[in-house]
């Protein structure tokens, strides 16, 4: 057995080397400079831009105004690309789920502000043209682009902000309470932020306490989205479904026609609670939803098949003043399984396969079919899918809903997570599942993050069975039964179940969990892996009935980590993190409510530090608070990371250019491709290979 393992390992090493070599040649696009939307002042903005050929006939026929009238006074300029592109072509993509169209945000989303893709650290203007923060970090004055328009030609003004905040977020029929970013006060009292509209293009938000990470939250805010810092949407569109602006009788009639019961249902259907512009429901066929993104939906020939076309009012240009995007159409096909996606790929029926759909585990398949399928496999760094992390839960309840004191005591003992962590042979996982391409390590920020320290990535990430046994013995788990299983303080054998949502988490997850359970059995823990549906898992996590679970750790780079620390400390329930029970306590407005489990002081200290991170105005100070948390976690880990860094082999058509440079971060933190300006991607020669 051992002999076989070694030979397989050697084989994989050899094949990895050839594969890496192949990548180097495959990424033949000479990366000159990565790009950023350079913010050119209005005076420098080019004026003699070209009209995209697709739109020319419509302009000539008078259906569309000329380009100069469609662009804002100071359009956003996307510079620092490899080349000025050529117009034309279609990108074929897939999605697995008609509601959660994750592939769509990857290419086609615009956020209020975003991170520059030059350094992934500087926040640069996007929908908002500029902003000013008062020195105390409580007041934010934002300027919008004059003359900017939605895809239907209607202007974007502060009215769209006012409506969104006053008539959606603070309307109690629609929202029980607004997103927390509009009621943050650092003290948990939910004091609402005050909006002041200064003129058509300037508004001011004032908070009762410093909210240092507010601007960063705007990099997650998509127009029309629900939560994550969304501050605006097309008010002229929403108003026709809102009872403050449209006659109640008319609304009732519309609701009835749509088989809904109340105007709120009708409104929410068009507001797309939660999904924003990601979702493309059938009503769009009759009532197109106005967007600010590079492409807009023009046809739904059948459910699940979406055809998008360039947004004629898109507000970004290249350095020569050509209106973006370069690519004319996006097309999304509804796909049933991952295997069907692979088949489409091999048959040259796909032009882009994004973050959610690629995995290093399929790397061999990608390389084999690269030539026949006319695509290029990229070498990015994943901040998402393959990054499996184990989350031992720290508060455990029995199946009957009563506290499991014995297991909770074990789970909270500082030795336990350490022992579980060092019992895992990470390198073997790397070589057997990931072709040896990953850099293994502890749950930590990615090494390129300013929060990262070498010690975080290596803390208890070594493979040391002796140490694991010693740690377990020391915590009183030294007695074993005749099968070699350790006995708990009540004399029962120590069984430990990893409950995971399988492929929903990632293509590797079931295999990773099998391996990990085997390592844990080697140190005398009766560990097993069990796959359950994501729904059931969430419910069981909330009940505290799960011993240990797995999720993929995004939120590990500077783009998102300071905003959402959920994997490291219990800030949010569900999916993963140290304990949903503790997170429920943290999120509760009334801390004395029944059923809440108060975390120990150490954890409360972490949560207080996180609040300070949110509040801190000074960036260095924020990093200092964050590192204080990570210092603590390096000493006493709460989660068990496996992978510190792993490639993300995104796939594009062979002709596609202006793609992100090799080693670019890719995942939920970067909103998929969207941080890297897919509106400036283009086909060499205007068409796909």
């Amino acid at each position: 057995m051992d002999k076989r393992k070694i030979s397989r390992r050697d084989f994989l090493k050899v094949s990895t080397i050839t594969i890496v070599g192949a990548v180097a040649t495959a990424c033949g696009v000479a990366p000159t400079q990565g790009g950023v939307a350079t913010e050119a002042p209005a005076t420098q903005a080019p004026i003699s831009g070209k009209e995209p050929p697709l739109l020319r006939p419509r302009v000539d026929s008078g259906e569309l105004p000329p380009l100069s009238e469609r662009l804002p006074e100071s359009p956003a300029v996307v510079g620092d690309r490899d080349a000025i592109g050529v117009y034309g072509g279609e990108v074929r993509m897939i999605h697995f789920d008609p509601v959660w169209s994750v592939s769509t945000y990857d290419w086609n989303s615009e956020r209020l502000l975003h991170y520059s893709d030059q350094d992934l650290r500087t926040i640069v203007p996007n929908i908002f043209e500029s902003w000013e923060v008062s020195p105390d970090g409580t007041t934010f004055t934002v300027k919008m682009r004059k003359g900017m328009k939605f895809s239907d030609g209607e202007p974007l003004t502060t009215e769209d902000v006012r409506f969104y905040i006053e008539d959606i977020w603070f309307n109690t029929d629609i929202n029980a309470s607004p997103m927390w970013q509009l009621r943050f006060d650092g003290a948990g009292n939910n004091t609402p932020a005050v909006l002041e509209v200064i003129d058509d293009f300037t508004f001011k938000l004032t908070y009762s306490a410093p909210f240092g990470s507010f601007i960063a939250h705007l990099t997650r805010g998509e127009p029309g989205n629900n939560g994550s810092g969304a501050l605006l949407g097309p008010s002229h569109f929403y108003k026709q479904y809102h009872n403050k602006y449209t006659d109640q009788a008319k609304l009732d009639e519309m609701a009835k026609a749509a088989k809904l019961e109340t105007w709120v249902q009708l409104f929410k259907q068009h507001w797309d609670w939660g999904m924003g512009v990601w979702q493309f429901p059938a009503w769009q066929k009759d009532t197109p939803y106005p967007v600010l993104s590079p492409w807009h939906l023009i046809d739904l020939p059948q459910e699940g098949l979406m055809i998008m076309e360039r947004n004629p009012y898109y507000w970004k240009v290249d350095l020569e003043g050509n209106q973006l995007p370069y690519i004319d159409n996006l097309r999304f096909d509804y796909i049933t399984t991952g295997e069907a996606a692979k088949l489409k790929l091999a048959q040259n029926e796909l032009d882009s396969l994004g973050m959610h759909d690629v995995t290093m585990a399929e790397y061999a398949f990608y390389k084999e079919n690269e030539a026949a399928g006319n695509f290029q496999v990229m070498d990015y760094v994943s901040v998402m899918s393959d990054r499996n992390v184990l989350f031992p839960q720290h508060v455990i309840f029995k199946e009957d809903g009563t506290p499991d004191d014995v297991m909770t005591e074990i789970a909270q003992h500082p030795n336990f997570v350490k022992a579980l962590s060092v019992a895992i042979d990470r390198e073997e996982i790397n070589e057997s599942l990931l072709f040896g391409t990953a850099r293994m390590g502890q749950l930590a920020p990615v090494p390129s993050s300013k929060y990262y320290k070498e010690a975080y990535g290596t803390a208890f990430a070594q493979f040391d069975t002796a140490l694991a046994n010693k740690l377990l013995d020391e915590m009183g788990l030294d007695k074993k039964n005749d099968q070699g299983i350790r006995l708990r303080s009540d004399g029962e054998p120590l069984t430990y179940v990893i409950e995971q949502a399988g492929l929903r988490v990632g293509p590797l997850t079931p295999k990773v969990c099998e391996l990990v359970a085997a390592y844990w059995r080697d140190v005398g823990i009766d560990a097993t892996s069990k796959e359950v549906t994501a729904n059931l898992l969430d419910e069981r996590l909330n009940n505290g009935q799960v011993h240990c679970t797995v999720w993929h750790a995004d939120r590990c780079s500077d783009l998102l980590l300071p905003l959402e620390m959920r994997w490291y400390i219990p800030t949010q329930t569900l999916q993963g993190g140290p304990s949903s029970k503790w997170a429920a306590w943290y999120n509760a407005v009334d801390k004395t409510a029944e059923g809440l489990v108060e975390p120990p002081d150490q954890i409360k200290n972490y949560l207080a530090l996180f609040d300070q991170m949110t509040s801190a105005v000074d960036e260095d100070e924020r990093v200092k608070f964050g590192q204080e948390i990570f210092d603590g976690l390096a000493e006493n880990p709460l989660g068990i990371g496996l992978i510190l860094e792993v490639p993300a082999p995104l796939i594009f058509n062979k002709n596609m250019r202006n793609l992100p440079k090799a080693k670019a971060l890719m995942g939920w933190d970067t909103y998929g491709n969207s941080t890297y300006h897919p509106e400036a991607y283009f086909y060499e020669g205007g068409t796909r290979a």
């Binding site: 059948q302 509804y334 295997e339 729904n535």
Partner: protein, 333 residues
């Protein structure tokens, strides 16, 4: 005969009522509902959804009502207006979602049915008459492969062969370039190019069963004295076989129509998923996974009704072709 049909129809009513209750219970069985699923997704993206918000949405969708109230609201709309409710998943009435795909599902299944019966019945008769011949062994072999291999595996293997060896594009119902276009002659031809594979896969699975059943019953009948008598009277071999034993041996095949209708509707689901066909199967599968309760409920209910209808149909067919059943039923009535 009329009494028999009426009595048979009356029996269906409580049957379908029970099926509808069962369908409703089944869709309620998994923990959580579509709403919790959606809320979990929301939370996963970083949005904060508090309990009051959940409550608001629960009221809005009527999910806080007792189960029997939800049931009667659901079944009431179906019985009175044939309205299967609203699909949370597709944000459209369930009727629209299902009807647009149901046609294609039935079309594929109907072709598969024609192919499998058209081939299986003659072959079944032939192998019984020529027992232990080469043809018998050959078709037995093919038949067992069809019986023993699950449809999805057959689909994967055939897809691989057509793609890797024959170089034919597989998967889907249309080539991508035809997909968004309205129906035309060229598109129809394209459809046929994609359709043969799923039809063969579905047909093979159905064929094996029919061949085996027909062969067994034919063998029983061929040994009976009335066959010898018919032969001794000098009837041609064709007449001997077709007029007597086949008419009896066909009975078990007819009674299989009980399952036929339901099979037409659901039999291809897994194959459809594997082959990525845009038919009813994958949509309903997705609905079940994501607890889109009204779509899933419609699926289970339709399936149950088709079973009932199928068994009615097979009873009537049997009565029509087999006088023994007809007279027996009349005496009982």
């Amino acid at each position: 005969m009329l009494n028999y049909i009426l009595g048979r129809l009356a029996r269906m009513i409580p049957q379908i009522f029970l099926v509808s209750i069962l369908a409703f219970i089944i869709i309620q069985l998994p923990p959580g509902d579509f709403l919790t699923e959606q809320i979990n997704r929301l939370r996963a993206t970083g949005a904060t959804v508090d309990e009051a918000q959940v409550q608001l949405l629960t009221n809005m969708y009527g999910l806080d009502q007792p189960m029997y109230v939800q049931y009667f609201r659901w079944i009431g709309n179906i019985v009175t207006r044939l309205d299967f409710g609203y699909s949370f998943l597709w944000q459209r009435p369930v009727n629209d979602v299902l009807l647009s795909r149901m046609g294609m599902t039935f079309f594929i299944a109907f072709l598969a049915f024609l192919v499998s019966w058209g081939l299986a019945i003659p072959v079944g008769i032939y192998v019984a008459v020529k027992q232990y011949s080469f043809a018998d062994y050959f078709f037995t072999f093919i038949g067992f492969i069809g019986l023993a291999t699950p449809g999805f595996l057959l689909a994967l293997v055939l897809m691989y062969i057509s793609y890797a060896i024959l170089g034919i594009r597989v998967g889907g119902l249309y080539s991508p370039e035809f997909e968004p276009q309205p129906m035309s002659w060229a598109k129809f031809v394209d459809l046929l190019k994609h359709l043969w594979l799923p039809v063969i896969i579905l047909a093979i699975a159905g064929m094996a069963n029919i061949i085996r059943t027909l062969r067994a019953t034919m063998l029983d009948e061929l040994r009976k004295q009335y066959v010898t008598v018919a032969r001794s009277k000098g009837l041609s071999e064709y007449q001997v076989i077709m007029q007597y034993p086949v008419r009896i041996a066909i009975n078990p095949i007819i009674s299989q129509t009980t399952y036929l209708l339901a099979w037409l509707f659901s039999g291809g689901t897994v194959v459809e998923i594997v082959m990525n066909l845009n038919t009813a199967g994958p949509v309903l599968w997705r609905a079940l996974l994501q607890q889109d309760m009204y779509t899933a409920g419609a699926y289970i209910l339709i399936l149950g009704v088709l079973y009932s209808l199928g068994s009615l149909l097979s009873d009537l067919l049997l009565a029509a072709i087999d006088p023994r059943i007809r007279f027996g039923a009349m005496e009982a009535a």
